[in-house]
């Protein structure tokens, strides 16, 4: 299976993780850009929350479900790491997206 295929698959099995973590990313990206002095704190919060959400995802994941995906040729490491990596890329993208927007807002205030 190609890396693209694995990423597409992770959107399916990791949707709960990506949604929960995406909400945190959105809040962190908006607040971090509006208040640059606490941006580092939001980045740390984001990383810590990702770990907690992943822990909950692993704990409450239906017991046999991982084998549906392992049978398709992804490894256990990829099963857990790809959604985390995707989430961090999305967070980074949101930070970049909201940077000009917040600058505009701050200049208007």
């Amino acid at each position: 299976m190609t890396l693209f295929g694995k990423i597409a698959l992770s959107f399916r099995y990791g949707s709960e993780y990506l949604i929960a973590s995406g909400v945190v990313s959105l809040i962190a990206a908006i607040n971090g850009n509006l208040h640059p002095e606490v941006l580092f704190g939001w980045k740390v919060t984001k990383v810590l929350s990702s770990l907690i959400i992943m822990y909950l995802f692993v704990t409450f994941d239906r017991k046999g479900r991982i084998y549906f995906y392992l049978n398709l040729g992804i490894s256990r490491l990829e099963y857990y790491l790809i959604p985390v990596a995707l989430d961090l890329v999305i967070f980074w993208g949101l930070l970049l997206l909201f940077a000009p927007l917040s600058k505009l807002l701050l200049s208007m205030m």
Partner: protein
């Protein structure tokens, strides 16, 4: 003379502990294409753990897996070559059976031909199916998928006796295309279908040659 390693799955030296609790000390299983290999054992002897170690779902302290005698087997992506049906239902609950079958490249119409009742279940989500129906669908999907080996963990559990014959017939049919490893507590069904048999006990594997071996090793009474 060197043994022909083609069509052979060798699992050896599997060692697994959870803290102080040692589940597997040095387990081994050898399976061949064209044969059904049975693995028996009392509850908690580590049969499912052994299979999960093979698939990479559990990380053991030690394991050695070789397919077809090749120099190095890619443990991480073994699912491309070995398909596993765990004890628990494993098809995601939000999926329909045809969706799952498509991902595994298995023809859903084959399932319908095998059991007509699945014709009217093609639009149902997996969570709407009964446990027995889902078990049959999972069994068929794993067994019919393109893999060199299949591992079936308790295929006869929660299945009506009337379907047991069909399951055995399908296993016997498919063993010509792949190697099959099977375990179940309904050992009479296993004995009817296997070519080679192993017993897991106290973390070790014993090869079984006759029913007397099962008695001697305390798996069944006389």
């Amino acid at each position: 003379m060197e043994e022909n390693e083609d069509g052979k799955l060798l699992i050896d030296s599997v060692q697994l502990s959870f803290g102080q609790n040692t589940v597997l000390q040095s387990a081994f299983v050898t399976a061949y294409k064209g044969k059904v290999t049975g693995v028996l054992g009392r509850n908690g002897t580590g049969k499912s753990c052994l299979f999960k170690c093979i698939m990479g779902g559990i990380r053991p302290q030690n394991k050695y897996i070789r397919l077809n005698g090749e120099a190095k087997t890619d443990y991480g992506h073994i699912g491309l070559r070995v398909k596993y049906m765990p004890q628990e239902h494993f098809i995601p609950r939000g999926m329909t059976l045809p969706e799952a079958y498509k991902m595994y490249n298995v023809d859903y119409e084959g399932l319908v031909a095998w059991m007509e009742q699945f014709d009217c279940l093609r639009k149902e989500k997996v969570k709407q199916l009964s446990g027995g129906e889902l078990r049959l669908a999972e069994f068929y999907m794993v067994l019919m998928s393109k893999a060199e080996f299949c591992i079936l963990d308790e295929p006869f559990a929660n299945i009506a006796p009337v379907y047991a014959d069909r399951i055995r017939a399908l296993i016997n049919e498919q063993k010509h295309n792949k190697g099959i490893i099977v375990t179940d507590h309904i050992y009479e069904e296993i004995l009817k279908v296997v070519d080679d048999l192993f017993l897991l006990r106290d973390g070790f594997t014993y090869q079984i040659h006759s029913r007397d071996d099962l008695v001697r090793l305390g798996y069944i009474f006389q």
